[in-house]
Amino acid sequence: MSWTLIALLLLPLVGSLVVAFLRGNDRLAKTVALAFSLVELALAVLAWTAFDPGGDRLQLTSSADWIPAFGVHLSFGVDGIALVMIALIAFLVPVVIGGSWADKLPEGRSAGGFFALLLAMQTGMVGVFAATDVFVFYVFFEAVLVPMYFLIGRFGGPNRQYAAMKFFLYSLLGGLIMLASVIGLYVVSADKLGSGTFDWATLVTVTRDLPLSTQIWLFLGFFIAFAIKAPLVPLHTWLPDAGAEAPVGAGVLLVGILDKIGTFGFLRYCLPLFPAASKELAPLVLILAVVGILYGSLLAVGQSDMKRFVAYTSIAHFGFIALGIFAFSSQAGTGAVLYMVNHGISTGMLFLVVGMVMARGGSRLIEDYGGMAKLTPVLGGLFFVAGLSSLALPGTNSFVSEFLVLIGSYPNEPVYTILAAVGMVLAALYVLWLYQRVFQGPVRGTALIDAVGGPGAAVDPERASVPDLNKRELAVLAPLVALILVLGFYPKPVLDVITPSVGATLSEVGVADPVAQEGK
């Protein structure tokens, strides 16, 4: 019985309640929220050190009866994959709180409410990754929607009602389809074991012997829910709307963490529970993944709205992750999990810097900006770093993961891998072109011209009312930049944690690992 995960779960919830009560005093509420998130980060570090990569599959476990009538246990535990995701959550939440510190909220909304919802969502997100009981997983999967729904709907952009509703309905529909499969798992286990269970580790031993047709039906229930979450084309249309309308902080968590529930679900539930179905349907998933990479990249090139741009780049990135998972090789799988972490860092940073640009120009449209680097050189430089990380330049974190995915997928799936590699070229195109339009050249665009004081005016940094990054913003971005570089040059600590879990997952699927064979 380990209390670390339980503390990780409960702390943000307590924080959320405390902050909700402090709504009257915005400053105090923010400070308390930040304090809670930092303690949570310390706890996550503690969990990381307590985790033994060479040890059991699931560690830090705890379990208690919840609904005995249905064999439901409140059980938690992490493997390496879940651990790095929980660490990412604990890292991103304080960053997001810092990044949203001075956000202009819609009229009549208090910052306390915003941060209370953020912390409530943190509990939900940790629960999703820490649950080792399928029922509990489902509960957190749905519960996490509620705070996000309110974050978008109450604090979002002009079209927030539509975006919040679309986000909620898509996810809920996916969740309900998954519920059918969850119930199916219970009935199947009741048939086999005499009494039904939701315990993941037990279910794995039950379901892998199921006939293929049953596996396929159950697989599809989970898969559709996860494909909506992770968004795979064609179930992605909610993400650009939700991402664009969400307040920046919520957007970071939306694409950085919430969407990873989908890819995490592939690894934790689809593959080990339904190995035969996973193999059978892998070509379908791979096609969706490659289409997602190319389609997301092309649409990212064509976006005129910066937040939608980030959302579409994410769709492309999720294509890479799905490719890595369903290529069934340990290198690609490890790369995919590392990609999940890196995408959270680099896209999170991209979202934050876009938010900082918007805070200065007041517009989401790319054409309202131009030559901004002259006014805000530091912001321009950091925007560039985030962009380079997003396009996977060697030396940045994303390069390692993207390279691992591609090199690991090639032996099994050469055609899809070659097509996916085209996405890397497109990534360079969309990132650099965006940077060029917003930051390079003479100062232009309505948002900036107004700020500078008329067309053609000589830019005088003293006079310009477009300030560069302040200390708070620098402090928010600094840890992200540091991680981008550290993981770019020395990803070993993370890889060490991930690799055994990915290996165990793949051995459950039972596909011959091309890399391991070469080793022999």
């Binding site: 009866d65 919840w66 609904i67 005995p68 009538a69 249905f70 009549g108 489902y138 509960v139 957190f140 749905e142 519960a143 929607l145 509620v146 729904y149 309110f150 709907g153 109450r154 927030r160 009602q161 919040a164 509703m165 909620f168 309905l169 809920l172 529909l173 309900l176 389809i177 519920l179 059918a180 119930i183 199916g184 219970y186 009935v187 009741a190």
Partner: protein
């Protein structure tokens, strides 16, 4: 003459297990006393005495039930009494407890006189709108006179007593009597709204006419089944269905007519046509009573009839009830999308929920039985609390039920909006609410019974229905308040207790459902 008398002497008096039927006797007896109160007490004292009497009755019946339920002899299964016409077995104990608890919630709403000065019920129901006296009285005086028709209390108790007999009756004739005892008071109660008298009376007439038809269907079905089996006892019908020498036509026709009558009461689509109008027109506390308690009684009856009499002929009718369940879910979910009145919206939601409940009922396994009963308990409390909130949102014309008037409610009244949001999420079936556990147990039973396609349709219907619950949340939280929007009354003690009770049970059953699931699964019907 002598032969006749000797016959009479040989007719044995039925054995009555007073312990088992004590809750029934208490409720029905108190209803009679309550009528006497109406007749003999001065007007000023009636309301207070009726409230005290009704609450005491519910408490006493609850105690009686608890004593019986914990007795050694009934722990296993239960008893047949009154010549086998009433069965008080484990499911009946659960349903009675549910009815009494939900009745308590509804009575609290009915008794409240602070939200609407004088109570939600008209001061003088006999004054007709449209007549000379009515026109004069209609608008101002009648709506503001600080008194109410306290007959609503005995009517509630009679209806509740009828419901209790209904779920316990072991033969179809007893069931029919119970159906009438529960229905007739409800028809009257619908017409008692203080405001919008015409709408209220229209609702009463509509409910009465359609209800009378449904009763006729039910009775005709009973007659045909008697022709089929030679008995109205459920167990006799059950054994007759296994014989080969009987008329299938009588069985099918009898079952069809019987089940139509039951589905009507349960507001299962496509027999739901009365539901939106009656829910909208009735005084909101009565709507809450109908939505929660009638649903429990009707599904209790459906469960009893299906398990008791027709379990062995299920392959002959399950296809039809599949269709009915699908129709109900689709009608409820789709038509709910277009509603602009919050009471009508909850009415359509209840039609959709009836479809989910029917899925559990036709699973015909132990999980189906306990799951359906759990669902009834969970849904009943959520609904009562939801209607309790509806009574609070008012403008100068009474309750503001049009959805546009709810815009921006969270700004003016964050607590009420938060409670209602929670209840709506429970109705939508989000985890950590009782609605989710209810759906889960029912669907699990259905999957167990090889009804996977039905479950998938139900899940899609849930997703569609979620849209209209969410729309209300969007209105309350994300929209700007309407300029001349309604105010939220500060609820009196009774309404506060009712809403708190409903919301708390919705939460408890969502977070820790084990004990209720155990009670619901403690035993099976005896016949």
């Amino acid at each position: 003459m002598t032969t006749f008398l000797s016959q009479v002497e040989r007719l044995p008096a039925p054995e009555i297990d007073y312990g088992a039927v004590a809750p029934l006797l208490i409720v029905l007896g108190a209803a009679c006393i309550s009528v006497l109160f109406e007749a003999f007490l001065p007007k000023a004292q009636r309301w207070a005495s009726q409230v005290v009497l009704t609450l005491l009755t519910l408490a006493a019946a609850g105690v009686g039930l608890a004593v019986y339920a914990s007795a050694e002899s009934t722990l296993e299964q239960g008893k047949l009494t009154l010549s086998g016409t009433i069965a008080v077995d484990r499911p009946v104990i659960f349903l009675w407890a549910t009815l009494l608890l939900l009745g308590l919630g509804a009575v609290l709403l009915i008794a409240d006189r602070s939200v609407e000065p004088g109570g939600a019920f008209v001061a003088d129901a006999s004054i007709l709108p449209g007549t000379k006296a009515g026109v004069k009285m209609q608008t101002r005086e009648l709506a503001t006179r600080r008194e109410m028709q306290t007959e609503v209390f005995p009517l509630t108790l009679f209806a509740l007593g009828g419901m209790m007999v209904f779920v316990a009756s072991n033969d179809l004739l007893t069931m029919f009597i119970a159906l009438e005892v529960l229905s007739l008071p409800l028809y009257l109660m619908c017409g008692l709204a203080r405001r919008r008298r015409l709408l209220s009376q229209e609702a009463a007439v509509k409910y009465f006419l359609l209800g009378a038809f449904a009763s006729a269907f039910f009775l005709y079905g009973v007659a045909l089944l008697y022709g089929f089996a030679g008995s109205v006892k459920l167990s006799d019908i059950a054994s007759a269905t296994t014989a080969t020498d009987r008329s299938d036509t009588l069985l099918y026709a009898g079952f069809g007519l019987l089940i139509v009558g039951l589905l009507f009461k349960a507001s299962v689509g496509p027999f739901h046509a009365w539901t939106p109008d009656v829910y909208q027109g009735s005084p909101t506390p009565v709507t809450a009573f109908m939505a929660a308690c009638t649903k429990v009684a009707a599904f209790g009856g459906i469960l009893r009839v299906l398990y008791g009499a027709f379990e062995r002929s299920s392959w002959e009718w399950s296809g039809v009830l599949w269709g009915v369940a699908i129709a109900s879910m689709v009608i409820g979910a789709v038509l709910g999308l277009t509603q602009t009145d919050v009471k009508r919206m909850i009415a359509y939601s209840s039609v959709a929920h009836a479809g989910f409940l029917l899925i559990g009922a036709i699973s015909l396994n132990d999980q189906g039985l306990s799951g359906t009963m759990f669902y009834l308990l969970a849904y009943g409390f959520t609904t009562i609390a939801a209607f309790g909130v509806v009574t609070l949102v008012r403008n100068s014309d009474g309750e503001a039920t049009h959805l546009s008037q709810w815009a921006g409610l969270a700004k003016r009244s964050p607590v009420v909006a938060a409670v209602f949001t929670f209840l709506l999420l429970a109705l939508a079936g989000l985890p950590l609410t009782s609605g989710f556990v209810g759906k889960f147990v029912v669907f699990a039973a259905a999957v167990e019974a090889q009804m996977v396609p039905l479950v998938v349709i139900a899940l899609v219907a849930s997703a569609v229905a979620a849209f209209f619950y969410l729309r209300v949340i969007v209105l309350m939280y994300f929209s700007e308040p309407a300029v001349d929007g309604p105010t939220v009354s500060v609820p009196g003690a009774f309404t506060t207790v009712a809403i708190t009770l409903g919301a708390a049970i919705t939460l408890v059953l969502g977070v820790y459902p084990s004990f209720a699931l155990e009670w619901a699964g403690a035993g099976v019907f005896i016949f």
